[in-house]
């Protein structure tokens, strides 16, 4: 059923008793053309575009838990395409364009809110770097605007402009950036893929991968063996763990990243703001809670929780930027596991095994990439060639020396 004002009205008159589940809950079939491991945002988006754009409909998405239980439901919901590098910018801008039409495309309210993303700068050198990034964005046709201190004061009067150590001199704004309701993205893609015939199989953990020489023949799961023509991994966070099933070692470490939400406040921050002198980013949800986060914990982890040291660090960075946060009480915090690649950029490529495809290494920037990642991965799966915006995300770029070090940080700051 298509959602519309009419369907809402009709169901209201029938006392909302006739709503159907948004997707089926099928048992796995013995064989699929494509199996996607991982029912997170990227896996579901891949299935959606594979079935919608590329006409591949005999597809299963295998999810270990329930939909939205992984990083798609654990991030700070920020979307942006303010990237500097040639290999990155067109991809993230493609993603931004998909975000802009997404709700109409999959007929689901994902609450896409282009409220703007502002990166603060605190020194002359940082202003130069941001100017360069802004210019690179504009050369790629992406909107970017350099705000000086006075312009910024009008928009965000509550920042600590006179901070003794990190005075705020201005910011780089991408007005088209913003936030999206993260779990609605998972639901929307799941519903859309399901309507195209994709089987979304929850509570189905892949426990082994079957091969015949260099060809994958299928997977072993907690719900039985399933065979496939092509196998796609979209399990960022657990990539090394799954890759180990086919004896692959990856240029990836798994790290925990925390996010926080405060008690509900009256409208306070109407954009996304990031601290330039530390790692801190904040926005305000429609419910009023401040949603914010900081840096990864700094040690390998598969535990979906963080430590107090990082809570303190995030709170300090937040306080340095917005002193008014000192009175705000934190309501909840949670952790997700990031695939930290060695250059800080994702990997989307074929592997040494003929019909195994890899999508991972999204570091802590996977959410904004969700639609483009799905589209480009579907393109790769369907055509065996990378999408034109995703040609830089090759698996072998580390060995060839073509690193994509947008920020100059990978899993650890000393890698560059």
């Amino acid at each position: 059923m298509r959602y519309s004002a009419l369907s809402l009205l009709g169901n209201a008159f029938s006392k909302n008793k006739n709503w159907k589940p948004a997707w089926r809950n099928p048992d796995p079939k013995p064989h699929y053309d494509v199996i996607i491991i991982g029912g997170g945002g990227h896996g579901l988006a891949t299935a959606y575009y594979l079935s919608k754009v590329f006409g591949v409909r005999n597809v299963a998405v295998l999810e270990k838990g329930y939909l939205g239980s992984g990083n798609i439901g654990r991030n700070t919901t920020i979307i942006r395409s303010n990237y500097l590098l040639e290999g990155n910018n067109p991809f993230y801008e493609f993603s931004m364009k998909l975000w802009e039409g997404l709700e109409q495309d999959f007929n689901f309210n994902a609450m896409v809110s282009q409220r703007g993303v502002i990166n603060l700068f605190h020194s002359d050198a940082q202003r130069d770097a941001y100017t360069r990034r802004g210019n690179a964005m504009r050369l790629h046709g992406v909107d970017a605007e350099l705000l000086d201190r006075d312009q910024l004061r009008e928009k965000l009067p509550f920042l600590d402009y006179e901070n003794a150590r990190f005075p705020i001199m201005g910011g780089l704004m991408q007005a088209r950036g913003g936030t999206v309701r993260h779990d609605a993205v998972a639901w929307g893609f799941a519903r859309g893929a399901d309507q195209n015939g994709v089987d979304i199989i929850q509570n189905c953990e892949v426990t082994g991968i079957d091969r015949d020489g260099n060809q994958i023949t299928g997977v072993q799961t907690t719900r039985g063996a399933i065979t496939c023509n092509k196998l796609a991994m979209a399990v960022a966070g657990s990539s090394s763990h799954v890759a180990k099933m086919v004896d692959m070692r990856l240029p990836i470490e798994s790290h925990a990243l925390q996010a926080f939400v405060s008690e509900g406040l009256k409208p306070f921050i109407d954009t996304v703001v990031t601290f330039g002198a530390g790692h801190f980013y904040v926005s305000q949800s429609d419910k009023g809670g401040l949603v914010f986060g900081g840096d990864i914990e700094g040690y390998n982890s598969y535990a979906q929780r963080g430590n107090l040291a990082c809570v303190e660090h995030v709170a300090e960075a937040g306080m340095a930027m917005i002193p008014a946060l000192s009175r705000v009480r934190i309501l909840r915090s949670w952790g997700g596991i990031m695939d930290m690649s060695m250059d800080g950029s994702p990997i989307m490529d074929r592997t040494h095994l003929g019909n195994l495809y890899f999508n991972g290494g999204w570091c802590y920037g996977g959410f904004k990439a969700t639609p483009a990642s799905g589209y480009c991965f579907a393109h790769l799966l369907a055509t065996d060639t990378p999408h034109e915006t995703a040609t830089a995300f090759r698996m072998d770029r580390f060995a060839r020396g073509y690193l994509l070090d947008e920020k100059g940080v990978g899993a650890q700051a000393n890698l560059h």
Binding site: S240, H241, K244, E253, A309, M342
Partner: protein, 92 residues
């Protein structure tokens, strides 16, 4: 992560005194090793879910480098030794 970690020199100490450096990898290859060996050493990781041998620095205590096992799922630590006791097999 447990808030107390047993240092072989200082005894039970708060976790905040330690800095985690990362996995105990194979020794650095020789300068003349081929590119594949260097690629493997510099970029690839085992990144296990479970027991992980790693270097810790007791920065807020004895300032010794330690080697210990930590479970990356539960964060339980065990087998703490001073890094100098680690047998190095020499460059490949």
């Amino acid at each position: 992560m447990s808030s107390l970690v047993k240092c072989p020199h200082c005894g039970l100490r708060p976790r905040e005194e330690f800095t985690i450096r990362g996995e105990v990898a194979a020794p650095r290859p020789s300068a003349g090793a081929d590119e594949a060996t260097w690629f493997d050493h510099v970029y690839l990781r085992d990144n296990p879910r479970g027991e992980h041998r790693e270097y810790w620095h007791h920065a807020g205590g004895c300032r010794r480098w330690l080697v210990l096992s930590r479970n990356t799922l539960t964060h339980e630590t065990s087998d703490v030794v001073d890094a100098s006791t680690l047998k190095t097999e020499g460059a490949r």
